[in-house]
Symmetry: D2
Subunit: 338 residues, 4 copies
C-alpha cells in the first residue's frame, strides 16, 4: 500500500499515519519527496481497510500495490484449473466445451428438438433457463421447477450435461439436483449472499461478468465463491454495457487472454448475449476460440420467432451445425479440439 | 410498437409480421416507405415480447412507443406519492427528509454518538448498515442481527426513524422488525427476487439506482416491487459509474427533476456514495436540494478514521451541523422546509 | 512515481530499473516487500515518460504520485482566477456570469429577438454559433463569417459581450475579432493543435469538457492552452456521455466543487447540452448555482421549432425570464449575485 | 421518421406537426393509438432536422427509421471496397494487410532496425508517427517534418508502403507527400474540418474510431470524408474507453463483422492501442483475423524501454516474427492469406 500525503501536510500528520500502520502490525516506510510525503507499507495490505487510512487527516490518496483477489489468482495457484463434470466432459483442458441450447425452457417438444440438434452437432453441455431474471416484471419468468425437470430429462435422454441459472439462495438445492453447472447471471455477480451459498455446494459454478464490472471485480466475485469452499469456478465474458447500441452488449474479447494471465480459472465466452445478433454469432465465436476461450455458451432455438425469451439473439440448429464446421479448423490452428 | 423491415424485405415477409400481430390481438398498420416497409402496431405493446417479433425473417428493428414501466409512471398516477412513516415524518412532501448516520453499525457507543449528533442537527431518520455488501470477501460484512438491534435501540432513544439495507430474501422479516424503511442497495437493483419479496411487505422501500442502470430501468425495478403490492417506494440517485476516477461515482443530478417528470415517486439523493469525498458533500447536497430532491441520505460518523466501512466518505458531526445551516436558505429559496 | 515489480522479478531486474532512474537524474528508493519489490522515485516524475519505465523487463505497474497538470492546478496558483472581459463583466468573482443566446446564428431578425430578450432578462454575455460541428455531414454547419458579424453586431447594439465557438486553427483570428470569449467545443477538447493556437492569442477561452473525458484530462487540456501563454481559461461542464438515454448527456455536477478544489480556474455549467430537455433546464441551473458554478451557458431561442440547430433543447425567452427570477434567491442563499 | 406525441396531446397539436411535415415535402401518416398519437413520415427523413420537429409543442419523441450515414453504407454500395496502394498492396481483399512499426519515428537507426524487422517478418506497410497527439503538453510530440522524411526513406529502402497520422489541416499536403495512407487518430474522429480536408485529397485514409464513439458515428465520420470526394476510406477499431483498467482500452471485436454488415469499407484492428499490453497482442490479433479483419495495425519497436512514446505497448521484433507464424494457420482457417 502506498499512502500519498496532501501537499503541505505537516510532519505531525505523517507521524499519525506512521503510528497507525505500526498499530496494524505492518511496516511503514515514509519518504519525503520534493512535493509530498509518501508512506509505503510493507506487509499484506489486504489486511487493512484502505478507506480508514484515507480518512486520516492529511492523507490525499491510498494506492494498493497487491491485487485484491487471492484464491482465483494465478499467483496463488499456478496450474490452470480443469473442472471435471464426469463422463469425460471437462472444462479448462485442450478440448473446448460447447454449451448450447435455448435461452428458456419452454416445453418438452422444444427441449427435445433443441437438445437433439445441439447434441448431433457436437455440443456436450445443454443450456436452458428455468428461472429467468427479467428487466420487466411483465415478462415471462421461466417455468421454474417444472422447467428444471424438462431440461434434465432432455439432457439425460441425449447423454448431455446440464448448465442452468440459479437466481435465489432458496433454489440452490433444487437447481443443483438437476444441474452439472450452476450459472450465476450477470445481474447477480455482486449478489454476494448468492455467491457465498453456491460456494457451499460442490456443483461447479459458471460466474458471468457483471454488465459493467471490471475483470478485477469478476475475480473478487470468484473469491467470494471459492472462499466458501467451492473451487470449481469458471468465469464467463458475456459482453459489457457500452455506448454502442447496434449490439446488445459489447464483447470484450481481450478478457480471455487477460483472465488466463491473472487467474487459473477457465474462461467461457457467450457470443449470444454479448452481440444479441445471430448474424454476428459465428465470427465472434471463431474469434473467441482464436483468443483462447475454454468454452462457448450459445443460444440455439429450434424456432426463434416462437421463443418466449430473447428469440432475436438465438441461432437456429442449421446455423449451429455450420458454425461447428467452421470452428474445427480454427480450433486446430490454435492447438485445441472441439 | 414500430417494426422496421429490412431494406429489400419482400411483401411476403411483411405479410407474415402482419399476421403475427393480428394473432396477438393487436392492430397492424403497414406503411410502404421509399426505402423500407414500416409496420406500426396499435394497442398495448407491453403485451408483446419484442424479441420474438425481432426474430421474424425480414425484420430489421423493433422500436417501442410506450415506456415499459407502468405503476411507477406519472401517467398512471398523477399526484406525487407522499410516504408517511408515522409521528409526522413523511417523504415526498414540502419537508425534506434528512437521513443521516454511519455507513455501518459498529458498537453501542458509536451509534449513541452518531445518533445524538445527527438528531441534534435536525435529522429525523437514522441510517446505519447491519448487513454490508462488500466487493471483497475479506472485508467487514456488518454485525448482522446484533447490528439491527443496536441501530433501532439508538433510534428509539432519540425518537428517530430507521433506514437500513436488506441484502437477502431470508432476512426481510428480521430487518422489517427494526426498520421504518428497507433499503435496496445499488448492487441489488436487478435482484428481482429480492424486489418481489420486499414488494410483499408493508414497510416502505428506498430503491437505489444500479451503478450503471438507466432511469427507465430504475422505474422498471420499482414496478417489480409495486406490482407485488407495496406502493411505498422511494427512489435514490447515488451516483453512477463513469470514467471519472477523482470521485467514487458520478452524481447524475438531473435524475432528480427527470424522475419527478416521469414518475410520482419521491426521489432521494445520496451525496456520500456519489462523491466519496467529504469535501464535496456540502456543495452537492445544496445542489440536490436546489434541484428538487425530496430527501438526503448522508454518511455521518463520529470518527471516520476509525470507521469499519467507507470511513473516507463520511463527514463528521460538526460538518453535518454546518451543512444543515447552509441548507436552510437554499431550501427556502426553492420553497421547501428542512 | 511508484514502480511495482512483478512477483518473482529478481534482483537484477530491479537493479536495472534503479540504474535507469539514476540515469534520469531522479532518486530511486527500492523496498523489498513480502510479495514484491516496489521502487519509489523521489523528484519530479513529470519529467519521466512512465511508458518507458513500464516497458522495462520485470516491471508490473507504474503509478504516478503527482497530478499530471501544473498550470491549471490550485497547487501552482492558490488564488482563484478572475477573468475580466472589460466594461465590468468578469468571470470567477462573486457575480455569476449568465451567457445566453441561440445555438446557431441564423439571421439578423433571429439575433435581434434573441439578444434583446436575454439582455432584458439580465444576461451580460451573448452566445451564438457561426461555425457548428455537426455529427452528420448533411446538417446545417452555420453561417460562417457572416454569422460572426450578425452575432457581434447584435451584441454591440445591446451592450453585451460575445462568446462563440472556434473549430479550426485557420479561423482563430477571424473569430477573435468578433468574440470576447473563444469557445472550444466538447469534440475539440483533445484537438491539441487548436488548443495550442488559442493559447497564443489573448482572448479568453472557454474550454468544454470532452464527452467522455475525466476532470484530470480537462485540466491537462487547459494546460495545453496555458503553456502557450494564454492564462485566461475558464472550464465548462456540459454533460458527459453515459448509458442514460432520457437525457442528451449526463450533467456531472460534482465537477463544479471538484474543479474548485483542484484548480484556480472558473467553472461554467451548460444546462442545455447536458440535459437536452427544456423542462430540465431550470432545476439543473438552480442546482449548478447552489453547487458553486461561476457562470451558466444556456440556449435561448425566440422560436425553437424554427431553429436550424438543436431546437429541442433551447428554452424560450419567457422561460429564461422566469428562470432568472428563480435564480436570484438561490444565488443569494450561497452568497453570490446575478 | 416516427413522431410520438405526448400522452394527452390534443388533435390540434398533431395537426400542426402534420402541416409541418407537408411543408417539408414529405408524407405524414398519423395513427391514433390507444394511449398516444403516432405520426409516421414517408420519404427521406435525412432531409429533416429531427430537433426542430422534437421542439414542436406536444411532441414527446422522434425516432429515425433510416440510418443517418449514406456513402459508407452497404445499402448504398453493395460490393466491398478494395483499396489499391499500388505495387500489389491492397486492403479489403483476400490478403490481410499487415501494418507494423514504431509508435513514433525517433531516429534513422531506430527506423532502419524497425523497418527491416517488420518487412522481413512479412509486413507490407510501415507505420510510424511524426506528429503525435499527446494528452500532456509536457510529452514528446514527434519529430514533425523530419520524422516524415525518416519514415518514408526507411519505407523506400525496404520497398514498403507508409501509413502515418495527420493532426492538423495545415499539414495535410506535407504528410500526403510522404504517406500512402493518412491516419486520422481517435481524438480526431469528430474533428470535422480535418475530415473534410482529407476528403479533398486522393490519398487513402485510415479513420480510427473515437474513444467513446458508436459504430454509427464512425460511419457518419467516414461520410464526412467521402462526401468531399475521397472514397478510399478504411475504418479502424482501436479499442474504446470502458471501466476496465487492466487494459488501456477495450477492444470491441464484434465491430469487425458489424462493420462488414453495415458498410462496404475495409476494417482494420489495432491490437496495440486497444490492449496496451504486449502479452495480449498475439491472442487478440489471432482473434481479429478469425473475426474477419482486413488488416492489423501494430506497434513494433526494436527497443521498447528506450521508446519515446508508448513503449509499454510495443512488441519486439522477435515477438512479431512469432506472431506472424501463429497467424498463418488462423488466416488459412478463415480463407484469408497473409
Amino acid at each position: 500500500m502506498i499512502i500519498v500525503m496532501k501537499k503541505g501536510a505537516d510532519q505531525a500528520l505523517a507521524d499519525n499515519v506512521v503510528s497507525m500502520i505500526h498499530k496494524l502490525d505492518l511496516k511503514p516506510m515514509p519518504m519525503i519527496g520534493t512535493e509530498r510525503t509518501v508512506i509505503a507499507v510493507i506487509g499484506d495490505e489486504r489486511a487493512i481497510d484502505q478507506h480508514r487510512i484515507h480518512a486520516m487527516p492529511g492523507v490525499d490518496r491510498v494506492m494498493n500495490v497487491l491485487d485484491p483477489y487471492k484464491l482465483s489468482s494465478r499467483e496463488t495457484k499456478h496450474e490452470t484449473t480443469v473442472i471435471d463434470l464426469g463422463d469425460g466432459v471437462t472444462i479448462g483442458g485442450e478440448k473446448i466445451a460447447m454449451m448450447a441450447g435455448p435461452c428458456a425452457v419452454e416445453s418438452e417438444a422444444q427441449m427435445e428438438a433443441a437438445t437433439k440438434a445441439v447434441k448431433d452437432a457436437g455440443a456436450q453441455i445443454l443450456r436452458g433457463g428455468a428461472f429467468k431474471p427479467r428487466t420487466s416484471p411483465y415478462s415471462f419468468e421461466g417455468l421454474g421447477p417444472d422447467g428444471l425437470k424438462l431440461l434434465s430429462d432432455a439432457a439425460k435422454r441425449h447423454g448431455m450435461k446440464v448448465i442452468t441459472e440459479v437466481l435465489d439462495v432458496r433454489d440452490i438445492d433444487a437447481v443443483a439436483q438437476h444441474a452439472d453447472i450452476l450459472q450465476i447471471g450477470t445481474r447477480n455477480m455482486s449478489n454476494f449472499n448468492l455467491l457465498k451459498e453456491v460456494g457451499k455446494v460442490k456443483t461447479p459454478v459458471l460466474l458471468k461478468r457483471g454488465m459493467s464490472a471490471t475483470v478485477k471485480e469478476l475475480l473478487l466475485a470468484a473469491d467470494h465463491i471459492m472462499s466458501n469452499g467451492n473451487q470449481n469456478v469458471m468465469l464467463c465474458e458475456r459482453g459489457i454495457r457500452t455506448f454502442e447500441t447496434e449490439t446488445r452488449n459489447t464483447l470484450a474479447l481481450a478478457t480471455v487472454p487477460l483472465v488466463k494471465e491473472l487467474s487459473h480459472l477457465p474462461i467461457i465466452v457467450d457470443p449470444s448475449h454479448s452481440t444479441g445478433k445471430p448474424s454476428l454469432v459465428s465470427p465472434v465465436t471463431l474469434a473467441a476460440i482464436a483468443a483462447g476461450a475454454d468454452g462457448i455458451l450459445i443460444d440455439v432455438h429450434p424456432n426463434p420467432a416462437e421463443a418466449m425469451c430473447d428469440g432475436d439473439q438465438a441461432i437456429k440448429p442449421d446455423h449451429f451445425v455450420e458454425l461447428m464446421g467452421q470452428l474445427a479448423p480454427v480450433a486446430q490452428a490454435v492447438n485445441r479440439t472441439l
